[in-house]
C-alpha cells in the first residue's frame, strides 16, 4: 500500500486531475519573475515619456534595445495576463461550456493583440 488513493502510474505521471500537472502554476510564476524587471523598466520609461510627441515616441520605440524589451514586456505580460484571467474564469464560471469558450476567447485575444503589437513595433523599427 502506498498510503494514498492514487495509482502508482498516476503518481509516476504526476499530472493530477487537470492532466497538465503544475505547468500552469509554474508558467504563472516564471512569467511573474520575468516581468519584475520588465515592468519596472517600462513604468520608468512611461513616466519619462509622458506627454512626448509622435516623433519622439517613434524614435524611442524604434531603438533596438527598446524594441526587444518592449516586445518581451508585451509578450510575457499578455501570457501572464492570460494565465491569470484563466484562473478567474475557472473560479467564477461554473458551466463547462462557457468556461472553455471564455478561456479560448481570452487566449485568442491575447495572441492577436500580442502579434499586432509586435508587428507594429517591428514596422516602426525597420520601416522607417
Amino acid at each position: 500500500m502506498n498510503g494514498d488513493l492514487r495509482t502508482p502510474l498516476s503518481r509516476a505521471r504526476g499530472l493530477g486531475s487537470a492532466k497538465q500537472g503544475v505547468h500552469h502554476w509554474w508558467a504563472q510564476r516564471i512569467t511573474a519573475i520575468a516581468l519584475l524587471p520588465l515592468v519596472v523598466w517600462f513604468a520608468i520609461s512611461l513616466v519619462m515619456m509622458s506627454g512626448a510627441e509622435y516623433e519622439v515616441v517613434r524614435a524611442w520605440l524604434g531603438a533596438p534595445v527598446v524594441m526587444v524589451l518592449l516586445i518581451l514586456t508585451i509578450a510575457v505580460g499578455l501570457h501572464h495576463a492570460q494565465l491569470g484571467i484563466q484562473v478567474v474564469i475557472e473560479d467564477y464560471v461554473h458551466s463547462d461550456g462557457w468556461k472553455l469558450a471564455l478561456i479560448v476567447l481570452v487566449r485568442f485575444i491575447a495572441v492577436s493583440f500580442g502579434l499586432a503589437a509586435i508587428v507594429a513595433i517591428l514596422s516602426i523599427g525597420f520601416g522607417g
Binding site: 519584475l36 499578455l78 500580442g114 503589437a117
Partner: protein, 132 residues
C-alpha cells in the same frame, strides 16, 4: 425528485456580506482586481504601439484621449495597479517559497506593499506630470 436528492441552496463560504474586512483579505481581493485591470491595460499598451505605428494625426487623437480626464484616471489607475500587483506579487513569491506565513509577517509585508505602491504611484505622477 425525492427530498434527499433535492439540491440544497445553502449560502457559500466565506460569506463576504458578513465578513469583517481585514488587511490580508482586502489586499488579496485587490491583487486579483488589479490583475484584471492590468490585463485590460496590456491590451491598451498593445493599442498604443499600434497607434504609434500609424499616422501622426491618428496618434494625436489617441494622445488627446490619454491626456483627457478619463485618460489620466485610466493611466493613473493602471500605474497604481502595476506597482501594487508587482509588489504584492513579490509577496506572493515569498509565500510560494514558504516564507512570511506568520500573521505578524503577513500584516507587516501587507503594509509595506501598500506604502511602496502608493509612494511609487505618487512619485510617478509628480515626475510624469512635471510637477517639480
Amino acid at each position: 425528485m425525492s427530498v434527499a436528492n433535492r439540491p440544497v441552496h445553502r449560502p457559500l463560504s466565506p460569506h463576504l456580506q458578513v465578513y469583517r474586512p481585514q488587511l490580508t483579505s482586502v489586499l488579496s481581493i485587490l491583487h486579483r482586481a488589479t490583475g484584471i485591470a492590468l490585463s485590460v491595460g496590456a491590451l491598451y499598451l498593445a493599442l498604443w504601439v499600434m497607434f504609434a505605428a500609424s499616422s501622426p494625426a491618428t496618434y494625436a487623437g489617441f494622445q488627446s484621449f490619454n491626456t483627457s480626464i478619463l485618460g489620466r484616471i485610466l493611466l493613473g489607475g493602471w500605474l497604481f495597479s502595476a506597482f501594487y500587483h508587482l509588489c504584492n506579487g513579490i509577496r506572493h513569491l515569498f509565500w510560494d517559497a514558504g516564507y512570511g506565513f506568520e500573521i505578524k509577517d503577513a500584516y507587516r509585508s501587507g503594509w509595506i506593499v501598500v506604502a511602496v505602491s502608493l509612494i511609487a504611484t505618487l512619485a510617478s505622477w509628480i515626475v510624469g506630470l512635471r510637477l517639480v
